[in-house]
């Protein structure tokens, strides 16, 4: 059987059920505020947000693969493009630009063109160390781990902290070789 062509992020987004982004944004804000009250330390909140994102990522990858027809990426460059153009689009309705590749092709940056998580948000002085969108980096890390890629995902620029863009750095640490029995059913 001929492989099915991957679908574009726009096509998928147009076909999935959607909700108002403000409900999503405000709910996320409520989560962050609850964490700040419960955990008190900004560093702990960063960690918890990352953990929540990771939990989402390992579940979200199934839906992503099922709806996108994307198969194994040939290299990390393709992986990054797929996240930027298909993944972000189908879930959040946004896209990102991939840039700043290192020579080995294992580190790059996603520049988010829009970020629905941060509407209505302003960081107060007491939260200066907070990575408000840390859930997103967790999602990417979790999802990639499910397709055998160990990555480190960090925020390099954050508009809430006064930078001029949202920049997420992806660093491929290692490809985990698949172990027997192969789960692939090709």
């Amino acid at each position: 059987m001929a492989p099915v062509a991957p679908r574009s992020g726009d096509a998928i987004f147009a076909n999935v059920e959607r909700v108002n982004a403000e409900l999503f944004t405000l709910t996320y804000g409520a989560i962050v505020r609850q964490l700040l009250t419960d955990l008190e330390e900004v560093d702990e909140v960063n960690k918890q947000l990352d953990q929540m994102g990771y939990n989402i990522g390992i579940r979200l990858i199934d839906e992503f693969l099922a709806k996108s027809n994307v198969s194994r990426c040939v290299d990390f460059k393709e992986t990054a493009e797929v996240i930027a153009k298909v993944g972000l689009k189908m879930f959040l309705g946004i896209t990102a630009t991939v840039t700043n590749w290192d020579v080995e092709g294992t580190t790059c940056s996603l520049i988010l063109e829009d970020n629905p998580l941060v509407d209505f948000v302003e960081l107060p002085d007491t939260c200066q160390g907070l990575y408000y969108c840390n859930i997103l980096s967790g999602v990417v890390r979790g999802a990639l781990e499910m397709v055998s890629m160990k990555t480190e995902v960090t925020w390099l620029r954050d508009m809430l902290r006064g930078d001029d863009a949202f920049e997420l750095q992806l660093k491929l640490l290692k490809q985990v070789p698949e172990e027997y029995p192969y789960k692939d059913d090709e």
């Binding site: 909700v19 108002n20 403000e22 804000g29 989560i31 505020r33 929540m52 879930f91 309705g93 859930i135």
Partner: protein, 194 residues
Amino acid sequence: MISVGKIKQYSNVLERPLSKGKQEVSLSAFAFLFSELVQYNQTQVDNITELERRLEDAGYAVGARILELLCHREKGNRRETRLLGILSFVHSTVWKVLFGKVADSLEKGTEHEDEYMISEKELLVNRFISIPKDMGAFNCGAFVAGIVRGVLENAGFPAVVTAHFVPVEGQHRPRTTILIKFAEEVLRREATLV
């Protein structure tokens, strides 16, 4: 600190133009996020009542903000001051913006003067949730009850708001009813208004 370009312009969140609110994200993105909210709060409590209270708190924060937002955007900086006005604002305007549709029904309680009910056949937050047997009457609708309370209270209508499952004949899944019980002062004030 020197900031440049767009940032400088929007240094304050209140100076940003108010969006029309037509942006969307996928329902799954919201469902995943909501599920994390529930799971996280589960780790913080040891009983169902407490869990519902925490979800309600989270919802309250959303409600308070959505009231402010919608009063600016949809109502020309005015808010409702009458009981029926604010109820229909919740049932129509708020519901439409948050859940994409008007709530299925808004009814007045038959037994008590101070009780009103908003019912929804399939509440968005309950859609992907199945309640394990040992969690009894737990209802994720508590989050939405919190949103309703947040809107009402911040508009000057303090109320106790709770979410309940109500079985529907011939339907596999129960509908969710948000029960609103207004504080005494609200009814007293309402009675003095013409």
